[in-house]
Each structure stands twice: as C-alpha cells, then as structure tokens.
Symmetry: C2
Subunit: 251 residues, 2 copies
DNA sequence: CGTTGAATTGATACTGGTCAATTCTAGTGG
DNA sequence: CCACTAGAATTGACCAGTATCAATTCAACG
C-alpha cells in the first residue's frame, strides 16, 4: 500500500481513454443472466482486496483496473490490467488472490457468485466461456512469466506496448495507443522502476520506433521493429494460436 | 531448446527422489475413469512441445517434469515443475502453451482429451476438481509473477526452497528436501543464472540457514529465517497490510 | 497563471550477469 | 573396488544493466 493510498485526480485526457467501445466482447455472455446496477469507483480506489471473501464476480463496464499483489514491505507486482468488457473474480473461490484498484474512473457490475454459478451450471455455453476466460488468463500469465524471467528492460517495454495496442484496439496494429496508467503502474507490471520505463520510452522515441505526443499517448511508428525487439517473432503466431473452439466439457 | 537437446544420464540418487509416494492426491479423480498404460521418458526427453496439438492430458505417475517457454533466441523460462500425482494439459485446448520435458526418468499416463471431457461432462465432481486444479495453477503463477517481478535473488532462492519443501513432502517444514533438477533448471525457473543460484546456496549455507550434504539435497536448518527472507511472513502478514477498507462499491 | 503530482533526465551505486578456472560428483570401465 | 571421465557445481574477477538518488521539466487542473 505504501505506494498508493491517496485518491487523486486523473487528467481528463486519460478519462476518455477509459470510455472506449471495445467492451462487451466477453461480458456479452453475462447479459443473458441479469443486469445489476453499475458501481462507480474513483481513480486509485480499491475495488476489492487480496484475501477478501470472493462473494462477487466483477464485470468492467468502463475504465481501467489494475490487479496487484504485494510483498509485506510494500513492493508491488501488477499482475494485469482490466479493460471494459473484462471479468475478474472467476478463478477465485473462497478469497480473492489479488487486490483490484481503479486506474481511471471505473464503472462495473457486481454479479453475485451464487447467481453466477447457478447460471453456469444451467448453461453449457456459459461454463464453456468461463473455461475459455481462465485459459486466456493463464496464457497471459505464462507470457508474463517469460517476460519477467528472461526479457531485458527494453524488450519488456516493447512487449507491453504491443500487448496494450492489441488489447485496447482489438485491431492488430492500430498506431495510436492510450496508456491510461502511470509510469509507476507500468514499471510494477514489468518488474522495473519508473525511471527505467521512462528511459525506454525515450530511447524508442529517439530511435524512431514510437512517437509520444503526450506521456499517455503512444504512436507505434515501427510496430514491426517493436515486435522483433519484443522477441515475439511478429509473424502470425496468433493466426493458429486461437482458431479455438473445442467441443466442451464441464456440463 | 538450445540449452538441452542431449539425452544424458542422471545420478541414481536423483532417480530415487522421483519415486516418492506423494502422488495421487489429485490424480485420484482420474482413476474412476480409466487407467491407460504407463509411458516412460528418459531425463531431458521431451514429453510434448509448445504448439503441439493438445490431444491428451498427462498424469505424472513417477518422476519430475519441467514446463518451459522459450524465446526465439533460446532464453528459457521454466514456468513450473510437476511432481507425481500432478496433471497437465488441462488448461490447454487446441495447442499446448508450453513444452514439457522429463527432469528425472518419468512414467506417466496419457488420457485422451475426448474421454476426459466426456467424463468431466458426466461428473460434476470431476469438472469441479478441474476448476480447482486450474485455480491452483493460476495461484502459483501469480506467486511466481510477484517473485520474478519484485524479489531479489536471495529472496527468490529462499522462496523456491520453501515451495519445494512443502510440495515434495506435503509437510510444511520437512527438513530434508530433494532437488532433482539442476542449478540451470532452478535458475531458469527463478529468472537468474546458475551461478547466482549457486552463490545463494553458498551464502545460505555459510549463514547456517541450510546444509547441503550433496548438491541435490538441502536440509532446512532455519526454515523460519528462510520464510522471513522469502517475504512470506509465515505468520499473519495480512493483519496490518490492508488496515484500510474503503466503503467501496456503494454503487 | 499557479500549483501539484507525474515524467523526464542526469549522476552514481550496486545487484546480478558474464567469462573463466577449478573442484566436485556420480557413473564408467578396468 | 578403485581410478577415470564428463558433466555439474562452485568460486573468482570483472562488467553491464538497472536501481537509486536527485534535480528539473512538464502537464493538467483549479
């Protein structure tokens, strides 16, 4: 907690980044169940805490959320960021495995776990999707393990930019990317310091790989080179990675 | 791949470590289904490869397996080790997300995914357990993210020793721990070099925290201090970590 | 405009990596 | 049973990539 306990303002430009129409891709499944009212959170406000009883599942309607784990002395790892349409709390059972905090102003729906599980046991499609979400989460976690364990600072930052670009836009290589989170958030996600993140951005800018119209807007000028730098083999790895859909299991 | 492609011998002392009666805790569920014959693998032999079609689920009967992800240039992250009784391939659907290789001589059962899924859809308990296994995997991955992102070399090695001690023995603080994997495997799991791992062991030994009768046997002399070093706060760390509790979700 | 937190940039320190040599271990063959 | 050998582990010297500490600069809101 030492790093963030205040509730301060976030620039308007960053608020806008939160209200993107990406959403609903995943959450759509839920809307067949019920539509709880929206809860609102201010930037840096805690949504739920590691260790809290996991009574609800959360569906992000608007804004960006960070998921963190902390060491007793306050060192922080951000295990991931949530975007509109994302769900969290699915893989928890008794207690949450991480803390969730709003990065930008957030609106979300809380689905009671009991309702949720009842619905899942009735709908094979729903439980199917839940498995799919858990798989995606696991896959992202494995990518992150490789990033943290074996990539250099520059490679980590390049990887991050590409992940955010793909996720926030849906389109594979949209040139303009919003970074609603701070340099410290990025650093805690990449296992670096905020200075190192800043220097990596500066270098990419000097090398002509990106442009930084504002600190929270990146334009990918050479996504190809970034891909190479990130050690992702830019090719069409996605192409065959998720042509997914297997029969089904879990009733 | 570049690091290991030969099939060499493993000391007999390490073979024994593999044949531990831990097992079956998790695999027990499966035995209600069927009992395929055992397949055998030599040390460093590949069991399946990242990207392979995930047609089977594997149940380790004997021996130790490592799960790796590789960067194009050969840098390797070991995302985890499997012990007797562990399953893998559950969270994969179309293709495996990592490579699995034998560390010691391994015996395992291959369960056809189709059978498996059929059984899961018939048995709520089974699919329930599968969810549980996936949760455990995710929880371990999150721990590892914190370790790789924010712990020092010494902290990582201390954490590793404790995890292995708990897992291999089941008992919380069994003093003698076998390390069937090499220093390089440990290093690739902890995001370090083998030299750094070796130096950490040497330091712990000098400081009286552990004894090293052989390079593959560790005795935890002061598990309490190791715990502290690992940043696990053995006790009730949660206590003062989150004194706060925002009213939060008053929508 | 003024103010405050965020971001950038610079100087320096230090952890852990790299390269290299030596020792150890365990399996092999006499 | 004991030397022999190959790979593993240890240890040392040195170096590089990041972290740390510190000072500006910048951006956005009041």
């Amino acid at each position: 907690m030492s790093t963030i306990s205040y509730l301060n303002a976030v620039p308007d430009s960053r608020r806008q980044a939160a209200a993107r129409p990406y959403a609903t891709a995943r959450a759509a499944v839920l809307h067949t169940i019920s539509q709880p009212p929206l809860s609102t959170f201010q930037p840096n406000q805690m949504i739920f805490c590691e260790g809290d009883p996991a009574t609800h599942i959360f569906e992000i309607a608007e804004g960006i959320v960070r998921l963190c784990r902390l060491l007793p002395d306050g060192r922080r790892a951000i295990t991931g960021f949530l975007y509109p349409g994302d769900l969290t709390g699915i893989s928890a059972t008794l207690r949450h495995a991480f803390t969730a905090e709003a990065v930008t102003p957030v609106k979300l729906r809380r689905h009671a776990r009991s309702h949720f599980e009842a619905a899942a046991s009735r709908s094979p499609e729903l439980s199917q999707r839940l498995f799919g979400i858990m798989r995606d989460e696991m896959s992202a976690a494995l990518d992150q393990l490789l990033l943290l364990g074996r990539k250099t600072a520059h490679e980590r930052v390049a990887s991050f930019l590409l992940v955010v670009a793909r996720r926030a836009s849906g389109i594979r290589t949209r040139s303009q990317v919003d970074l609603p989170m701070t340099r410290l958030d990025i650093a805690d996600h990449l296992g670096l310091t905020l200075e190192t993140v800043s220097r990596a951005f500066a270098k990419f800018k000097n090398d002509g790989l990106i442009a930084l119209p504002t600190p929270h807007t990146v334009i990918l000028l050479r996504p190809d080179l970034l891909c190479q730098l990130a050690g992702e083999d830019e090719g069409d790895e996605e192409a065959d990675r998720q042509p997914q859909r297997v029969a089904a299991w879990a009733h």
